[in-house]
Amino acid sequence: MTIPFKTETFRDDFTFSNSEAAIRRFPFPFDRDAYMYAVNIEQHMPGPAKSATEFPIDIDEHYVAEMADRDLVLKADPLRCQSLPHMMTAEWDLLELLMTSMARDYPEHFSLERSGREWHWINRPLGIDQRFTFEDPATLPLSPMEYITRQCQGDFCLLDQRDDNLWMDAGIVTTQADWSLDFDLGMNFIEWHGPVPLAHEIGVFERALKFLLNLQQGRPVRRLNWTMTINPRLDTSPENYHRWGIDRTTVTPDNVGDKVHLRVELQALWRLPRSNAIVFSIRCYLIKMRELVTQPKWARRLHRVLRDLPGELADYKGLTNYRETTVAWLSKYDDGAPTSPGFHPD
C-alpha cells in the first residue's frame, strides 16, 4: 500500500493536520478515565493492521514533512545529534535495525539489498540511492546513526549498558517534549529521569531499569507517554523555549480546537546485537483537539483525564496555563456517559 505523503509544516504557518485515516490510527494513550504513572511497558508486538503499532517502525503520511523539519532543526543546531566515540558499533546496529525493518514493512517505499558487507539502500520518498560497506563509516556521507535517522520518523537515543545502568551516550533528538540531548548526553537512566515528579517515590525508575537491563534481543518493548503542545510544533526543545514557551499563553476559548494538541510518544526499546546497547526510540504523534473530538469516546475521556490530573503532573507537563480553558472546551463533548474500557475509539 502506498502512503500518500503530505506537504505540511510544523513551524511558522503550521499547516500540519491529520487525515481521517491518521486520526483513526492515532495512538490514544488513555485506557481509562484517569491517569497516573505506572511502569506501563508491554511487548512491542505487531498491533492491528493500519494501527501505529502494525510494524516495529511506523512510517505515516507525515514522513516526508517530518524529515524536512528535522533537517531545519539540525541546520540551526548540530548538537541535536551527538555520539560518543565508543558508540560506533551501536550506530551500525541501529542502521541495520531501521533499514531492515523499513525495507521489509514498506517495500513500495524502501528497499535494501545485502551481499555480505556490501549494502544497497533505496529510499524512494526522499529520492536516495546509496551503496555502502556495512561497518565502514567512510562509505556513508554521514555517521551511520545520523544517516539513517534523517530518514526515519522519531527521535533515537542509544543507551550503553555498563555498571548495571544505562547511559545516554548517543542520539538524535529533534522532536522532543522539552528535554535536551545536549544536556542529558553521558547521563545514566536515574540521572536523566531526575526531574520527573512523583514517579521516584513509587519506585518506578528502579523497577524499569531492572527490567531494561535484562531486555533481550528479538523482544523489544514499548510504552506510551503523553503531554500537550500548543500549535503542531515538533521541536519543543529547551534550546528553543524562547520561540514556543510563549505560545502557551495564546490559548483562548475560540482557538482551543486548532491550537491545542495532544502529543503522544510511542516509545520503544530494542536490545542491539553487536553492541549490547539499547536503542530507545521516541516517536511523536500530534492530534488537534478538533480532530480528537471526532471520536466521542476519546473526547469524553480526555476531558476527564485533564480535569482530574494532579497539579504536580500538570505543572511538569507544562499544561497549567491553558488547562482550564481546554477542559472547559472539552466539557462540551462530555455528556457524562460511561466510556468503554481500552484505548480504541468506539
Binding site: T89, R162, D163, N214, Q216, G218, R219, P273, N276
Partner: protein, 319 residues
C-alpha cells in the same frame, strides 16, 4: 520457555581436549543467526529421554557479522546430566534449541585498556572478548592459566592470533599467574575481566580490591554450576501444583517438569530474571545466587529457583 529461541542443528562436534567438546551450530531453517557481543551466553535445551536439560554456555569468538554459533563444553566431574549428555550423545546432525544470545558479562567500551584473565574453561567468554577487542583495535592483554597445554583449549590458536598480547601459565610447568603483579602496572582507566573457577575469581578480585581498583572496573563471569541437594516438597500456590524437587534437580527444573512456565534467563544465579516470591518455607532457604542482596536473602521473601533451594520439608511459591 522464556524469551526467543532458535532451532539449530549441530554441524560439527569435535573433542578439542580430552574433556572439552566444541559444538558448531547453524539455524535449522537456514536463516542467519543473529550477531552477538563478546561475553554473551546462550541456553542450550536438550531432550534426554523424558528429561529436558537446559544449560548456559558462553558463545565462542564473536560473530559480529552473524553466522554459526560455537560453544565449548567441559565435562563436569559431577555433571547433573547436561555436560555428560553433550559429551556422550551430541554429535553432528543433532538438533537442539538455543536461547537468543544474552550478555551478562559485557565489555566496558569506555575502558582505556582491558586486562583479560581466564582459568581453564573460563577462556570461552574471555577468548570472545579478545576477538572483539582485536577487531576494533582496542588495547588489551590476555592471561590464561591452564593445568597443561594439552588440556588448555585454544592455547595454540590464541597465541597465533594475538602473539605478544597473550600470556599462558601452565601449572604443570610450575608457571603461576601473579595477578597482583599484573594489576600493579596498569594505567588508570583499565578494566579487569575474569572468568574461571570460583576460587580463582575470588583471588583475582581480592588482589584488585587490595590495590584500590574501583568496583566498576572489575568484571567477573561467575556462573554457578547449579548443584543439587537434599530433596524437598514444592507447592505452587497459584497453579495448585504439588511436586518434589529431586536431589539432582534444580527448583526451576522441577517447576518446568511440572508443566508450569516460569521465567528464566541465565540459569546461573546472576541475572535476576527467574526471581519468584516465597509464600512460606518450612525449613531454611539455601540462597546460592549472586543476585539478591544480603538483606533480601535474610528476609526470605524471594528466591532464585535456577540455583537456590530449600533445606527443609516444604517450600510454597506464589506461582
Amino acid at each position: 520457555m522464556s524469551g526467543e529461541t532458535i532451532a539449530v542443528r549441530v554441524v560439527a562436534a569435535e573433542a578439542i581436549t580430552p574433556t572439552i567438546k566444541r559444538l558448531r551450530m547453524v539455524a535449522r531453517d537456514g536463516a542467519r543467526l543473529p550477531p552477538y557481543s563478546a561475553g554473551s551466553h546462550t541456553v542450550l535445551t536438550m531432550a534426554s529421554g523424558e528429561r529436558v536439560i537446559r544449560n548456559a554456555y558462553s558463545l565462542l569468538g564473536s560473530t559480529l557479522a552473524g553466522g554459526a554459533y560455537e560453544v565449548a563444553v567441559l565435562r563436569a566431574p559431577r555433571s547433573r546430566g547436561g555436560s555428560a549428555f553433550v559429551h556422550d550423545h551430541v554429535g553432528e546432525g543433532h538438533e537442539l534449541t538455543l536461547s537468543v544470545p544474552i550478555n551478562l558479562f559485557p565489555l566496558n567500551r569506555r575502558a582505556r585498556h582491558h586486562v583479560l584473565v581466564a582459568g581453564g574453561i573460563g577462556i570461552t567468554p574471555i577468548g570472545a572478548m579478545a576477538d572483539e577487542l582485536a577487531k576494533v583495535n582496542a588495547s588489551f592483554e590476555l592471561h590464561y592459566a591452564v593445568r597443561n597445554e594439552a588440556r588448555g583449549a585454544f592455547c595454540g590458536d590464541l597465541a597465533g592470533r594475538y602473539g605478544e598480547r597473550v600470556r599462558l601459565y601452565v601449572s604443570e610447568r610450575q608457571e603461576r599467574l601473579h595477578v597482583h603483579d599484573i594489576l600493579m602496572r596498569q594505567p588508570l582507566g583499565t578494566h579487569l575481566y575474569v572468568c574461571g573457577p570460583e576460587g580463582m575469581i575470588g583471588n583475582v578480585l581480592a588482589d584488585a580490591r587490595a590495590l584500590g581498583w574501583p568496583e566498576t572496573s572489575l568484571h567477573a563471569e561467575r556462573f554457578l554450576a547449579a548443584a543439587g541437594g537434599a530433596p524437598f516438597a514444592l507447592r505452587l500456590a497459584k497453579s495448585g501444583v504439588a511436586t518434589t524437587v529431586g536431589e539432582d534437580q534444580t527448583l526451576l527444573e522441577a517447576i518446568e517438569a511440572a508443566g508450569i512456565e516460569a521465567p528464566f534467563s541465565c540459569r546461573g544465579g546472576v541475572c535476576g530474571e527467574c526471581e519468584l516470591p516465597v509464600v512460606s518455607a518450612d525449613g531454611e532457604i539455601d540462597h546460592r545466587d549472586h543476585y539478591l542482596s544480603a538483606e533480601e536473602k535474610a528476609a526470605g521473601c524471594k528466591i532464585m529457583p535456577c540455583v537456590s533451594r530449600l533445606r527443609g520439608r516444604e517450600l510454597v511459591l506464589d506461582l
